[in-house]
């Protein structure tokens, strides 16, 4: 409710804008738009004018040779460990110190990884996590954008910090939920606070490095991150959608 004021034109415009912006946008709409565009491109490629058969054969053979050469040159497909470290260092340098914790884990454990064709069973994924974080898995699974499925769940340790990491995936889109233990006195910088956004007593923080978007909050001795290459607003929406559930499900440290 607002204080009494005459509804002059400027007030009415402001109220209108506020009301319009209060309408939620479907979480997966942007992804669906991209899918439509991708499907349209694929359909267009398929329906291109056909070539004479000898050209098809020649191009097929040339293509096969090129693929074979590429495989020979680039297997293994994942970069070497030193390349990975260099890449993580270079990208992480663009994020604030505490944001690097989640970002480094995302790149190391989600980007530089081969994925199975089909998503593993939920039971298998949950079994890979400490029992205390089983609830967090459920929260993530329930709140990921439409079409995303959990592909990876694991715990790892780096730089004296324990991580629980869930990776959800849809086609080539990856999104990580990283829960890291919070060291004493650690706090995200106030400059990265998302103004005016609070939910269940939580404040949210945002940062980016190259095209990685990072949203984060602090809870119960943990630092919680959502990292993806989705637009910043969308990435933040995912974080906010699961924040309260995560906070409630995380064990007290």
């Amino acid at each position: 409710m607002m204080p009494d004021q005459p509804l002059d034109l400027e007030n009415m415009k402001r109220l209108l804008k506020r009301a319009m912006e209060s309408q939620p946008v479907p979480a997966d709409l942007e992804a669906r738009v991209r899918n439509r565009i991708r499907e349209s491109e694929q359909a267009a490629a398929v329906s291109k004018p056909f070539w004479p058969r000898w050209q098809v054969v020649a191009f097929t053979m040339a293509g096969a040779a090129a693929v074979a050469a590429a495989v020979a040159l680039f297997v293994p497909a994942l970069p070497s460990n030193s390349d990975q470290r260099n890449y993580i260092a270079r990208v992480s340098a663009q994020a604030s110190y505490l944001m690097r914790v989640g970002l480094g884990d995302h790149i190391h454990c989600a980007i530089f990884r081969k994925y199975p064709k089909a998503a593993p069973a939920t039971k298998t994924l949950k079994a890979a996590l400490p029992a205390a974080y089983s609830g967090a898995f459920d929260v993530v699974q329930k709140n990921v954008p439409s079409g995303f499925r959990p592909y990876v769940s694991h715990q790892c340790r780096y730089d004296g910090r324990q991580f629980v990491h869930l990776v959800v995936k849809k086609d080539d889109q990856l999104l990580s939920v990283v829960v890291a233990t919070r060291k004493e006195g650690e706090s995200f910088p106030a400059s990265q606070l998302v103004p005016g956004l609070r939910q269940a007593g939580l404040s949210f923080y945002q940062d980016r490095a190259e095209d990685y978007q990072i949203a984060a909050f602090e809870a119960k001795g943990h630092l919680v991150y959502v990292i993806s290459r989705m637009p910043a607003e969308r990435n933040l929406q995912v974080m906010v959608a699961m924040a309260q559930g995560l906070q409630e499900s995380l064990p007290n440290l």
Partner: protein, 210 residues
Amino acid sequence: MERIMQVSGAMDNWLDPAQSNVGGQETLVNVPMNRDRFEVEAMPHLNDLFRTASRVLGERSRAEDVVQEVFLQAWKSFDRFEPGTNCRAWLFKILFHCMNHHRRKWYRFPLLREKEEFLEANLTSVEPIPEHLTDEDILAALDRLPGDYRAVVMLVDVEEFTYKEAAEILGIPIGTVMSRLSRGRKGLRDLLETVAKEYGLNRAPKESRR
């Protein structure tokens, strides 16, 4: 969705930005299709387009379909769109064109006769009204405006397009934009005043000083 796809071919000429003067652009040159540019210039407007479509169509699922169609059409034409011109206005023009295409099927803009009845019923009060109004109240009042007025109010007062841009987007003369805007604002204001009175919260400035 299939229905939308069926008519998309008929929109090709209209969608050619070289034929559009939205945003005051007079001459456009061919530029290579650029996915990154589309991401930067077009995608950020998705939420605004969806919210506008949702209010105009009155149904979120239809708005979702239309917005997907708008971006697909924009993407197909984007190689001819000149960087730095008003991409947002261009997208809104596509949006309203898409919605008009489906008007006969499920557009809920009332007919002109209803507009006149609406004016007779509503354009009477000039009293200022308080702001004891929720977002839901305001959206409900907006929904009660005749569609033509609602569209102009949303484009000018919410999306902050100029009269000229709104006229281009809707394909109507500027004078019509101005008159619809004036009536739409007044109608909206009166509807909101009625809502406030129903709440028993209406206190005009003179009363509030007592």
